[in-house]
């Protein structure tokens, strides 16, 4: 059995086991959940290590026939593109299951739903079948609504859960319609993505067909990723979600739309992409600038992080809209970086919120003195969020800007300004009003003990490690991205060989400048 199937299988196995654990045995429930998710993480790391970067095409492939009458099969495989996402998903899922300790009521149901969500999230990154891609995402999405409604926090959780359910179901249904259209139009009687890709390569769809299918997919995926102006579900939804759910959804599930745009919409409908990507480029300004400005006005830490998370999606959209090598590579890096970062930030703010519901920025100062571990981790997360070098976010944002500059220079200028200035303003203000200053002795507890700190340290460590050595993540990404871009563009880049060669060097130069940055960061503490 392919290790990818094992990664997907562990959480579902855990879920089945939990059905037979008697109610009230919370320790066993937790044990089973942590163990199965840990096994997935180990398997994902094994795949990451054994992956051979030079090889084109998919690795660890396996196909199980599912609905032969419709050409649906459980086809799994990884290439440079989804490998990093899969590992990121495994890390975030492990961290969020570990910190689910905060849930004290009806643990059994909670963990069953959480494992279902986790399994769906692994599945959607590992499968190469359109229908399974959709089904796994939906499998992860439905528990989200239930968990926000039942275990959520705040007065408005029911409203938030409904809003999220309506928005995200609309997005998902649009995506489904797009997938069905691809399936029918390709005429291959198969949902297998490589088969459809091959078919469409030899017989591309007419431009008008490509155009409408791409539009349906772009807006469907866009709603799922909180593309401006369809983003209003996100901040409120995350603020109302239980911490592990916010971590998993913002970190992992939201990447479904971006991954789908990159790996399905772009390669299958290049003509449609060329028509619609300029629109996407303009909309991403809405994400970066508008949501950044909204984030500036937030007084609630959760809403601040939620809005900044929506704003960060703008980078990925910009990278996709650039439709060339550096931009798309950058988009993938930002996706992974944002996944780790969002999980970290929501985990930390959840820890604070559980002790002081309705914690507002400015009410409590000096958190760094009072809760040093949480404060330090939060300050690092916020610095990563405004793109300080040394964190993986910086690498991705830089690549996106390099990529987009040649394509949409003016939009890039606005985005750079929005990201660097607006982003820095709200993050630094939050640091100043919450973390610095005199300790207000509000009775908050720090996270104590190595075991409890481990999930946060894990996420932070990965952000830093990959930020220092992004080459680890970018192994094997080139053939995958080349596959996505239209053949003519790839040839063009090949001719300008220096662009491709320059990339590892850009990455290398960051490393040298890194130690100083880290030093200055330590000073600021």
């Amino acid at each position: 059995m392919s290790p990818l199937l094992q990664i997907i299988g562990w959480p579902f196995l855990g879920m089945l086991l939990l059905f037979f654990v008697p109610r009230g045995r919370a320790r066993i429930v937790r044990g089973v959940s942590v163990f199965t998710v840990f096994m997935s993480l180990v398997t994902a790391l094994y795949v990451f290590i054994r992956f051979s970067p030079g090889q084109a095409g998919f690795q660890f492939e396996q196909t199980l026939d599912w609905i032969p009458a419709l050409g649906v099969s459980l086809h799994v495989g990884v290439d440079g593109l989804n490998l990093g996402l899969l590992v990121m998903a495994a890390l975030v899922a492990f961290a969020s299951v570990c910190i689910s300790r905060e849930v004290k009521t009806r643990e059994k149901e909670f963990y069953i739903l959480l494992l279902m969500m986790t399994g769906g999230a692994y599945g959607m990154f590992a499968v190469l079948d359109l229908l399974f891609f959709y089904v796994f995402h939906e499998l992860a999405l439905v528990p989200t609504f239930i968990m926000i409604g039942v275990w959520g926090r705040g007065e408005r959780r029911v409203y938030a859960a409904y809003k999220m359910a309506v928005y995200l179901s609309l997005g998902a249904l649009l995506v489904l319609v797009g997938f069905i259209a691809i399936y029918v139009a390709a005429g291959a009687e198969s949902f297998d993505i490589p088969v459809i890709a091959e078919r469409l390569q030899s017989a591309p769809l007419s431009e008008s067909t490509q155009s409408w299918i791409f539009a349906v997919l772009m807006f469907g995926f866009g709603i799922l990723v909180a593309l401006w102006p369809f983003h209003t579900w996100a901040p409120q939804g995350y603020a109302s979600a239980p911490t592990p759910v916010a971590m998993l959804h913002a970190g992992v599930l939201k990447k479904f739309g971006l991954y789908g745009l990159i790996s399905i919409a772009l390669p299958l409908m290049p003509a449609g992409a060329r028509e619609w990507l300029p629109v996407l480029a303009w909309l991403c300004v809405g994400n970066l600038l508008y949501c950044g400005l909204v984030a500036m006005r937030q007084k609630d830490l959760n809403l601040l992080i939620g809005n900044s998370s929506v704003a960060h999606m703008g980078f990925v959209f910009l990278g996709i809209a650039s439709y060339q090598f550096l931009g798309i590579t950058g988009a993938i890096v930002v996706m992974i970086a944002h996944g780790l970062l969002a999980a970290l930030s929501f985990g930390l703010s959840g820890h604070l919120y559980n002790q002081k519901p309705g914690l507002r920025i400015g009410e409590h100062t000096g958190l760094l003195k009072e809760v040093p571990f949480v404060g330090t981790a939060l300050i690092m997360a916020m610095l990563a969020g405004c793109g300080v070098p040394g964190f993986l976010n910086f690498v991705g944002e830089l690549l996106v800007f390099f990529g987009a500059w040649g394509v949409v220079p003016w939009i890039t200028v606005v985005c750079v300004w929005a990201a660097l200035v607006v982003g820095a303003v709200y993050m630094l203000r939050a640091i100043r009003y919450m973390l610095h200053g005199t300790a207000s002795n509000s009775g908050l507890n720090d996270i104590n003990g190595a075991w409890l700190r481990m999930p946060y340290a894990l996420l932070l460590g990965c952000l830093l490690l990959l930020g220092v050595y992004p080459g680890l993540l970018l192994r094997g990404i080139k053939p995958a991205v080349d596959n996505i871009l239209p053949a003519s563009d790839v040839a063009q880049v090949m001719n300008r060989g220096e662009v491709v060669d320059a990339m590892p060097i850009t990455v290398g130069t960051e490393e040298s400048g890194l130690s100083e940055m880290e030093g200055s960061e330590n000073d600021s503490k």
Partner: protein, 482 residues
């Protein structure tokens, strides 16, 4: 010889008649075991129908056709009959001492449905509809002591009789213009009648009559009151099984009797489907009574299935049949859970479901699974059904002959969104609110428990592993229609 072809129908009628006779002499305490015995015998017939499928062929001069489609539908109806008899056994207290009479009527209605699935002639078409409908007149108003049930019975009687009258008038007009009642005969002369107003009006009236039976817009007015007033078993039977009979008749009519005319009427069917989806879902949103909500949502489901018929391709018919199977398991599970959750027959509001998961986790879970499947959320069977139907419409829209059907797909998507909203509201009230202090603990008979497991299993298995059923239905549909 031709009688061997209608052996399944004969078996069902004979079980019904014997049940009726034994009932005359059975003591009051013997009625419940009697219905159990009937369920067992019907189960055996059902198994025989699957294991030793009867030979295919035509009987009575082509009036009665036993093709793969008819066989599939008979198996479906027989399974529905078994589920219904088991439901009657469990919901004994709702039907009082007359439970075996109820079982007899269910069996007669099922016999009508089995004839309907084989009808290839307007005479059999009408007779089988009447057999179904007349049984339902009694089933709907069965709880004589309840005003609501009687009111529902009268409403159903008047409106249904009116619809039958319209239909029979339509059949007369068709006969007047085509000079034959046989579907094959009509199809043969249809080419010359495409601009014959009498023929077209006749066909339109027949379609309207059928539209009443499957409750599509604008013939859906009876549904909410009847669903709410009828005993819960009848409501389940109406929703899950009777609808299927309407659809099999529609499929026969559309694809065997007058394929060309209906191909031209495709926009009409699509508009009706879209309006039905919107009407059903919009009206379901504000409902506070669960049976009424399910009534409105069943209108919407009829709209989805009509969408599959209106796609006019094999994929659409496959989708309709799959949807019927998925729908039956989900609806039967939901109504059984509804019956078990409410001690009081007059009280079916959603509020009183509050805290159901504390009173009985199994009942709450099976209701959740059923509703989520009805909402079309993967990986349950309802999703696969909706997927197949939407795929069929997109396929027709993108084929050379069809126009773009983007609006219908958009309507379906909006409808699904609305249905997710109101189904999840029910789920939420079950899991979030605290139970009413006066609510009785739920006691589940072992048969009820098995029944719920069966429904959950059907919805989950056909959702996760739909491959077998889909290829089976595809096999059934090959060679049918144009």
């Amino acid at each position: 010889m031709e009688l061997t072809l209608i052996l399944p129908e004969i078996a069902v009628v004979v079980i019904g008649v014997i049940l009726l006779l034994i009932d005359l002499w059975a003591p009051p305490e013997g009625k419940r075991p009697l219905i159990a015995a009937a369920a067992v015998v019907a189960g055996l017939v059902c198994i025989c129908l699957f294991v030793f499928p009867p030979a295919l062929g035509e009987a009575f001069g082509g009036m009665f056709v036993m093709d793969a489609l008819a066989l599939f539908m008979k198996q479906f109806f027989m399974a529905g009959a078994v589920l219904m008899l088991l439901f009657c056994y469990v919901a004994y207290d709702r039907l009082g001492g007359r439970v075996s009479e109820y079982g007899v009527l269910v069996l007669f209605a099922v016999a009508g449905m089995m004839f309907a699935s084989s009808s290839n002639h307007f005479a059999l078409f009408f007779v089988s509809i009447e057999l179904i409908t007349v049984s339902f007149y009694v089933l709907v108003g069965f709880r004589r002591e309840s005003v609501m049930s009687l009111e529902a019975g009268i409403k159903y009687l008047i409106l249904s009789a009116f619809a039958s009258a319209v239909m029979v008038y339509g059949i007369a007009l068709v006969y007047g213009s085509a000079a034959t009642l046989s579907f094959d005969g009509i199809a043969a002369v249809e080419g010359g009648l495409t601009d014959n107003a009498v023929f077209l009006v006749g066909l339109l009236l027949v379609t309207a009559g059928l539209g009443f039976k499957i409750a599509v817009f604008p013939f859906q007015m009876w549904v909410p009151d009847v669903y709410q007033g009828a005993p819960v078993t009848t409501t389940a039977f109406l929703a899950a099984v009777s609808k299927a009979a309407g659809f099999i008749l529609l499929i026969r009519l559309v694809f065997t009797a007058a394929p060309e005319t209906f191909r031209q009427w495709q926009p009409l069917l699509m508009i009706i489907a879209g309006a039905t989806i919107l009407y059903g879902n919009l009206c379901a949103i504000p409902q506070r009574n669960l049976k009424r909500l399910l009534g409105y949502s069943s209108i919407a489901h009829a709209g989805y299935m009509l969408m599959g018929v209106s796609a006019m391709n094999a994929a659409g018919r496959v989708g309709v049949l799959f949807y019927l199977v998925a729908y039956m398991f989900a609806v039967m599970g939901v109504f059984m859970a509804l019956y078990l959750a409410h001690g009081n027959p007059e009280k079916d509001d959603i509020e009183s479901l509050g805290g159901l998961h504390l009173r009985s986790p199994l009942v709450a879970f099976s209701m959740t699974i059923g509703l989520v499947s009805l909402a079309g959320i993967p990986p349950l069977a309802g999703f696969v059904g909706k997927f197949l139907l939407i795929e069929a419409v997109v396929r027709d829209g993108m084929s050379a002959t069809g126009g773009g059907h983007a609006w219908l797909v958009a309507v379906a998507v909006i409808g699904i969104l609305m249905s997710i909203y109101y189904y999840l509201a029910v789920v939420r009230s079950m899991y979030r609110n605290a139970p009413d202090a006066r609510a009785k603990p739920v006691s589940i008979h072992v048969i009820g428990r098995i029944y719920l497991y069966l429904c959950i299993a059907g919805v989950v298995i056909f959702g996760i592993l739909p491959g077998g059923l889909v290829s089976w239905i595809k096999g059934v549909m090959t060679g049918f229609g144009s």
